[in-house]
């Protein structure tokens, strides 16, 4: 047969809790009948999302009042972050984030004020505590997936039943490093999950202009990697797909790709004004699909939630957020020494030690003895 098919691919889209908050009962259960999420879990995750949003809102205000630098809001993407975070095992699996999945980082043990500290221009916000398995926020787009691949590879080499999960946006899939990370991960079958938050925009560039592919999910076809598209504002779908991918990886089944279709409800960052480039109507339509609203409707319909509970939660969340900010702002300013001390492990090279001690780069301003000038010259 001179024309024959040598390959076929099909991309599925998974939705369990639809826009009207109706649950697909069948998909909400694993094949063995266990629920993908128990009521208690849904309740817990919902409250978590609300608390995260409260910090997000407050962070925005902090920036506006000049108490923090640029900040990228997570608003609208909480179900994706929380769902993936829930699917990964805290203290075991490794999170390799971008900057729009605060909720997952916090769930996995990063003190909440760390993220604020980062955006306050303080590296100590990246000083991941011992036992917290994650890398710091990554500002250069698309670069961290290679690190995730390497981390997962180390797990495989050491035969540890651990998985790395890395987060990135739709825009990040255009970078060459994304391609190389996907290819390495698949070629070496490492336990890595690639979780794309397709929030439809990369600053001002819409998803359709970013790439001509019909879906982001199909990019994994290039690497022969299992891939799926999920409704990223549907907590159930995210948890199910992420759990599938993570547990397959843990069991030695190699990497997977997940495209979570979601939306960035806020500006790109506080330095951005999205009204310049996107339609109010589009934003409005997505407001209605806000994952918090959807989950609340679901819980209320199931009588697990009511307005009074919500009011109490909102108050509590606001208070907690204020406390997070207080903690971040209460940390004393970093000392200049920090700038030097972490350039290399101690001891520092002599020249750097001299720069640190004298806070000078010009040799006349440096300690004469150290600068190699004899007394007579100094």
């Amino acid at each position: 047969m001179p024309v024959k098919n040598v390959y076929e691919a099909r991309i599925e889209h998974l939705q369990i809790l639809d826009e009207e908050a109706r649950l697909d009962e069948k998909l909400a259960k694993w094949p063995d009948g266990r629920p993908v999420l128990t009521d208690a879990e849904v309740l817990e995750l919902y409250q978590y999302m609300v608390r995260c949003r409260a910090v997000d809102d407050l962070a925005f205000k902090l920036q506006r009042s000049g108490r923090m630098g640029t900040y990228p809001q997570n608003r609208g993407q909480e179900a994706a972050a929380v769902g993936a975070g829930f699917a990964a095992k805290r203290g075991v699996d490794y999170l390799v984030p971008c900057y729009r999945e605060n909720a997952a980082l916090w769930m996995h043990g990063l003190p909440m004020h760390y993220v604020l500290l980062h955006w306050m221009g303080d590296e100590r916000g990246n000083q991941i505590p011992d036992g917290v398995c994650q890398t710091p926020l990554c500002i250069p787009i698309g670069t961290q997936m290679l690190h995730a691949t390497g981390i997962a590879w180390a797990f495989k080499m050491r035969k540890e039943a651990r998985v790395a999960i890395t987060f990135f946006g739709d825009g990040a899939t255009s970078e060459g490093d994304f391609h190389e990370a996907m290819n390495f991960a698949s070629a070496f079958q490492v336990p890595c999950v690639f979780f794309c938050q397709n929030n439809q925009w990369a600053i001002s560039v819409p998803r359709e202009s970013q790439t001509a592919s019909e879906t982001i999910a199909q990019k994994a076809v290039a690497y022969g990697m299992p891939t799926t598209q999920v409704d990223g504002n549907d907590l159930f779908a995210v948890v199910r797909a992420s759990t599938d991918a993570i547990e397959r990886a843990r069991a030695g089944g190699g990497p997977s790709f997940i495209e979570a279709v979601t939306y960035r409800l806020a500006d790109h960052t506080t330095a951005d004004d999205a009204r310049r480039y996107r339609d109010a109507k589009e934003v409005e339509a997505w407001q209605k699909r806000d994952p918090l609203i959807r989950l609340r409707s679901y819980l209320q319909a199931r009588k697990l939630w009511d307005d009074a509970k919500q009011a109490a939660l909102d108050d509590e969340a606001k208070a907690a957020a204020t406390e997070v900010v207080r903690t971040a702002e209460g940390i004393e300013a970093p000392s200049t020494d920090e700038m030097f001390d972490y350039t290399f492990a101690a001891p520092l090279p002599a020249e750097l030690e001299l720069q640190k001690r004298t806070l000078q780069t010009h040799s006349l301003g440096q300690d004469p003895a150290q600068a190699g000038l004899s007394a007579q010259q100094a």
Binding site: I139, M339, L352, S363, G365
Partner: protein, 324 residues
Amino acid sequence: MPLMTLVQAINSALAQEMERDERVVILGEDVGLNGGVFRVTDGLQAKFGPDRVIDTPLAESGIMGTAIGLAMAGMRPIPEIQFEGFLGPAYDQLCNHAARYRSRTRGAVTVPMTVRVPWGGGIHAPELHSDSPETIYVHQPGLKVVCPSTPYDAKGLLLSAIRDPDPVVFFEPKRVYRSFKEEVPEEDYTIPIGQAKVLTEGTDLTLVSWGSMVFQCLEALDTLPDDMSVELIDMRSLYPFDTDAIVQSVEKTGRCVIVHEAPKTCGLGAELATVLQERCFLHLKAPVQRVAGFDVMMPYYKLELDYLPNAQKVAQAVGQCLAY
């Protein structure tokens, strides 16, 4: 003459050249409808259309590499890299391809393009948004590198860069994008690449800088005693740089302090200092001094002002060099 900020001057040069030469196209991340994250290309897409002011996918090597192809095929592309830190992914295309095509084809294939890059620290930006990587492009044969510090120079140098038959890296000191306005002619004018500018004349010491550090130097001058006569030179072009200008000045003054943001070790300051000791050896009354960034990662913004040279450090170095 209208008063313009650096941003406005660059925008005006771009608009003018696109009007004049239909081969000129702008491409980069968010340069279109959004006008660039610093609004440098504001209004250009509305004026010239999305085929000439092009929002690209998020991929710096892609921007640089396709710009090379465009240039090879007769266009005059102006790729924008959103921040100097993101030149990293484009390093290979810029240094190993754009810079070499003319030489490796003995002139058959050339790459006339101008790479615009917001550059330098001091704006409270996140990581990798405040670096000063000029040295590595100066070190790369086949590239020209400019870094104007004022609106007037920016327009004149940008027009030269776009019309240059070879690739030019055009660093824009973002810290002074909007810090002041000056008179900038509406009409077309160019400033030749390779010429420094003497900002203040003096006889005791030569102060050399570029980019936003020029303003730290100016501030330092204000704090110096009146009897110190310092000549301040803004390099403006980093490759080729104006050897004659600094040599002539140092032959006169016998002392020199060079100020730059980039880490000291192997910064461009080292090259200038070396050239000075090579060419003005018998005139030098003191070692050429550098006031530069420390040899550490550009810190996040809480410490960035501790990292960056400032007027006080410059003044101190000048004082010590004069006292040598």
